[in-house]
Amino acid sequence: MKIAIASGKGGTGKTTVAVNLAAVIQGSCLIDCDVEEPNAALYLNPKIEEINKVELPVPRLKEDGCSYCGLCARLCAFGAISVLPGSAAGKGTLLVFDHLCKSCGVCMGLCPERALKEELRAIGTVETGNSCYGTFARGQLDIGEVAAPALIRVLKQKAIYAPVTIIDAPPGTSCAMINTINGVDLCVLVTEPTPFGLNDLKLAVEAVRKASIPFCVVINRSMGDDEIIEQYCRAEGAEIAAKIPFNMEMARRSSEGGLLCATGTVFRDYFTHLAEKVQKT
């Protein structure tokens, strides 16, 4: 069973929920798909056993052959190529914008002169290993890179799955989040009882429904009155699977890199109950 811990809004507690769930489920797998800022390892302290470089193919001009016809630039849906025709004074120019390239291969495949070749460009790493709770995998996008979805797809292929796999998703509802939740059995949407929390929860619910993935809601930093979220969940028929209170001791534990489920029975219960619930779904 694959469970993604997602949210529209950043900072609602996705990683807190993900690492604590992974820790209370014996022999689980945790995949940290928040590749722009993976931090689950701070809590689970895994031993990384393998590091793989992730590379994407981008087009490069061969030494000769290009007629500067500009077909590749017109075909590129992402605006990643510019071709400036030559003049009597000299050869043309072909520019490739690596960060805009999605490695679809159209330019290389359809070049009438076969003048483009593939070059591999590193965008980040995928690391796999073990923590004392189970298997662990994370992706790390290199600084300045933008191809999070591509890295996430490789990460999900390389991870060593367990009977229960918890996937920590990146915030938002853009391509990185969609690539993370693609193929999971359940999404746990972590929110907070604030207008921002509600606004972004609505976006997340819309996204998971479009992807036809069952979901439930976790209200984090509950201060007793969570009507703002509860009202929405009632209207939408969404299950609230857990409420985690706003608690100074929990905040302190978390900011020290500690697992809440290892702090005491009261805190542990939030996650064991949630683990039972999500595994039944």
Partner: protein, 106 residues
């Protein structure tokens, strides 16, 4: 010679659009005939690469001078590589900014 002015609408009284890649229209002014031509910017609503797409478009049309407000880094690379001269204008009607800068087009 062809001059491109980024515009908010498709006539010479339209205001200059200070954005390049996502401007609404490209106004092309021909310095020989004094005529204007207008093209909708198809890159305006692109998911990404609007700057390079817009740069490819004006370079392909043989523009020599570009009047706009702001160029992103990718668009700037294309415009520079194409040898297009840049005149920064942020506001005003298309025909007014053309009249004002005309002397410098040559």
């Amino acid at each position: 010679m062809k001059v491109c002015i980024t515009a908010q609408d498709n006539n010479e009284n339209a205001q200059v659009d200070p954005r390049f890649g996502r401007c609404a229209f490209f106004a092309f002014y021909d310095t020989d005939s004094g005529d204007y031509q207008f093209f909708q910017n198809e890159a305006a609503f692109a998911d990404g690469g609007a700057g390079t797409k817009a740069g490819n478009f004006i370079a392909g049309k043989g523009v020599r001078v570009l009047m706009t407000g702001h160029l992103g880094p990718n668009a700037e690379t294309v415009v520079n590589a194409a040898g297009i001269r840049l005149i920064t204008v942020n506001s005003g009607a298309v025909k007014d900014v053309v009249d004002r800068e005309k002397a410098g087009f040559k």
